[in-house]
Amino acid sequence: MKFMRRKLIIGGTLSTGALVVGWWFAHERDRLGGRDTFKARDGEVALNGWVKVSRSGTIIVAAPRAEMGQGIHTALAALVAEEMDAKWEDVRVEDAADLGIYRNVEMLLEDARAQDPGLMRDIALWAGSRVAGILGVSATGGSTATRDAWEPMRLAGASARELLLRAAARKAGVKQADLMIVDSRVSTRDGKQVATFGELVDAVGKLQPLDGVPVKKPADFKLIGKELPRLDVAAKVTGTATFGVDVRLPDMLYAAIANSPVFGGKPKGFTIPTGGLPKGVVKVVELPTAIAVVGDSWWKAQRYLNEQLKIQWDDGPNAKLDSATLMRDYEAQSRAVGDAAKTRSFQTAPVAQRPMERGIEATYRAPYLAHATMEPMNCTALFVDGRLRLWMPNQSPSLMRYVAAKTAEIDQAQVTIHTTYLGGGFGRRAEPDLVRQAVAIAKAVPGKPVQVMWSREEDMRHDFYRPMAVARMQARASKEAAWEWRCRLVGQSATGQFIDRVLRLGEQGDPDGNSVERPPYGFPSYRLEAVVPKGPVPVGFWRSVGHSHTAFFDECFLDEVALAMNKDPLALRRELLKDQPRHLAVLDAAAKAAGWGTPLASGIGRGIALRQSFGSIVAQVAEVAIEGGAIRVKRVVCAVDCGRVVNPAIVRAQMESGIVYGLSAALYGEITIKNGAVEQGNFPDYDVVRLADMPVIETVIVGSPDSPMGGVGEPGTPPIAPAVGNAIFALTGKRLRSLPFKLA
């Protein structure tokens, strides 16, 4: 039982990210950093590891997290600017170096390796779960980033402010207590101007950075909680923001890639047609699982790969792999009784048979899904004199550096990572597969930078997919009360495979990352089981990870239970949440804003769903119509409680973004595998929501500033599929139990 509990805690850690961050704090000593941590350029002075000020008055904040659209640069900078009383218009961010105060993944990997082998598995699990928490959670949309930065970055701002005040007091020959700061200007309390931040650069450079300065009380916040404009917007509307594919270096070459079409296959060889390589194509490089064509133009390299080069593949053991067959196998496993070797379970004491009880049962299915980030996968590498430089849109510089050094067989100190803007991440860019390819290719053309980019087809066929899953759901209830909830879920573990694939620590066949977890509802008895098959299909962290499918299973099935009990779906949820005030408040806020219970125009159905993930609670009400035989989502009302809010505009944007991402999956997303290879290749066969499908979205932020801060990058995604599924049932009486929804 003890063992089981720990598993569940780890599972919970991975799915919420909260404990991971908690753990991290426990180990942190000093995250303030010194002057040399944040390199000052001419005319700048570093006040600590997080902030610099320039003579012209610019406040430069270190941004250790990847900006992939979630607004994290803006949110993090606001924490520092708030404590400094800085003028927001003068604030900008700069990429932080890959150093300990900004969090360091390989430190933790080394911890794991250094342990007594007897402890290896446990430590590896911890390390793995922490890494996964960081990559899969923080990476997928800032779900942990703001929580992680809340203390250290505010402290850094407070310390910087104190230093500036001290310098100003000396300069003006007044007591520090008589000074105040408004909008980056220091003045005396009676209004006499003393200096701007820019004018204090030289004086402040002579003072020692300060530690342990108290931060503001929330009541005094001027920037936190405001809809501050984003720092990345100007570059993004003028076309000057540099994404990974926009990196241009002198004499740069480009590489196009053909990965083995069959998972686990490898090249046997290739034939260059007679006449040799055409002009502009420099080299063909054989990689462990792919062939690369290097040229002076990506277009030329890709065309040569498509039209000229003949590659012979060894398909390996998976040439017959078929996702439809796999699905049938999963279904059989979902019906199996008893505990197979790979089953993990959690169960509370069973409740005895009751009078008038009914058993309710249903099987739900979710397919593999690709991330399809707008910017195709890429990485630019330069290998010269045993040193490696990489430019890439990535979600973890530490991990990329670790993998790059291993691949190149050089010391990590010889590797520099430049993180560009990310054209979408959603969990895909936590994977170091592109680093391995780019490093190998760069070594084949030493001294020349090479930009490796995948075509959209490669991107879609060689993703790390959201795992396919089947869940057998069961409940027992009478007309009056519901008392048992059961879920038996079959699906690969994204976390387990990641630990094996990236950290080479052996596959962990645990339900981690599948988020088989106890719903917040007050059923007296639970039984949760996870069957975790291993398999050759690469799986990974897809925005909201396991919640993306388990929320669909749980919340649609709960509506089935309500139907069996002859109760309104909202009313049953309210009853079952009576001891969960935060959940109840979110549910009620969504229902109220949506007008739950009020009449709808004819031809419209309404559905509700709720999910807690990554420390935040989100409820959504969807209104759905059927038009021309197609499901049309007209309106979505979303209520979110994410604890304290740093920037409400960003919270709303992230809810909308998460809903659209989940809606694409609910209406269209499906990756299928035949003869070992993915059948879909580009947007025409992996369609996504566009403007014409776009519902009106209204977001209500339920304030709970005293609750622990939750994430916002991912929690918007899980409830949308079940809310739509429940609305389809309300409208048509058809219970659709497979994603994507198909009416016929």
Partner: protein, 153 residues
């Protein structure tokens, strides 16, 4: 050599005539604001103007634009920001931002044709993909850009 006008400037391009305009822009002319998303005219990330019309440059060959006028995101505004860009800033549209140049180019072309588009016209004209799901802000920003354009007249 193929002669084209890019953002008001005449250029002789030494690329293959059958090279798609997208790659000419990105590789030969260092104009990387125009993005590659799919290569098959399905996503709109590569949208530019050719003689004032929105076109998906991944599927237009260099020889097809010989002697014609091409405008990219870098040249959309000229001296000051274009009304579309102003509206995009005002409504804080971009998230990751990768799809946005394509959306803004498509919007600018739409507004030239239909200065006051309805929601339905916007939905029909802008079939681009945004994986970050900024569509709701885009809809608002298109209306805002229409109003700003009118005010500038």
């Amino acid at each position: 050599m193929v002669a084209i006008t890019i953002n008001g400037e005449r250029r002789d391009v030494a690329a293959e005539p059958d090279k798609p305009l997208l790659w000419v822009l990105r590789e030969d002319l260092a104009l990387v604001g125009t993005k590659f998303g799919c290569g098959v005219a399905a996503c709109g990330a590569c949208t530019v103007h050719v003689d004032g019309q929105a076109m998906r440059s991944c599927s237009v060959l260099l020889e097809q634009v010989a002697g014609r006028e091409v405008v990219t995101i870098e040249g959309l505004g000229g001296e000051r920001l274009h009304a579309v860009q102003m509206a995009w800033i005002e409504l804080q549209v971009p998230q990751c931002g990768y799809c946005q140049p394509g959306f803004m180019m498509a919007t600018a072309a739409l507004l030239k044709e239909k200065p006051k588009p309805t929601d339905a016209e916007i939905d029909a004209a802008l079939t681009n993909i945004c994986r970050c799901g900024t569509y709701q802000s885009i809809r608002k920003a298109v209306h805002r850009a229409a109003a700003l354009t009118e005010a500038r007249r």
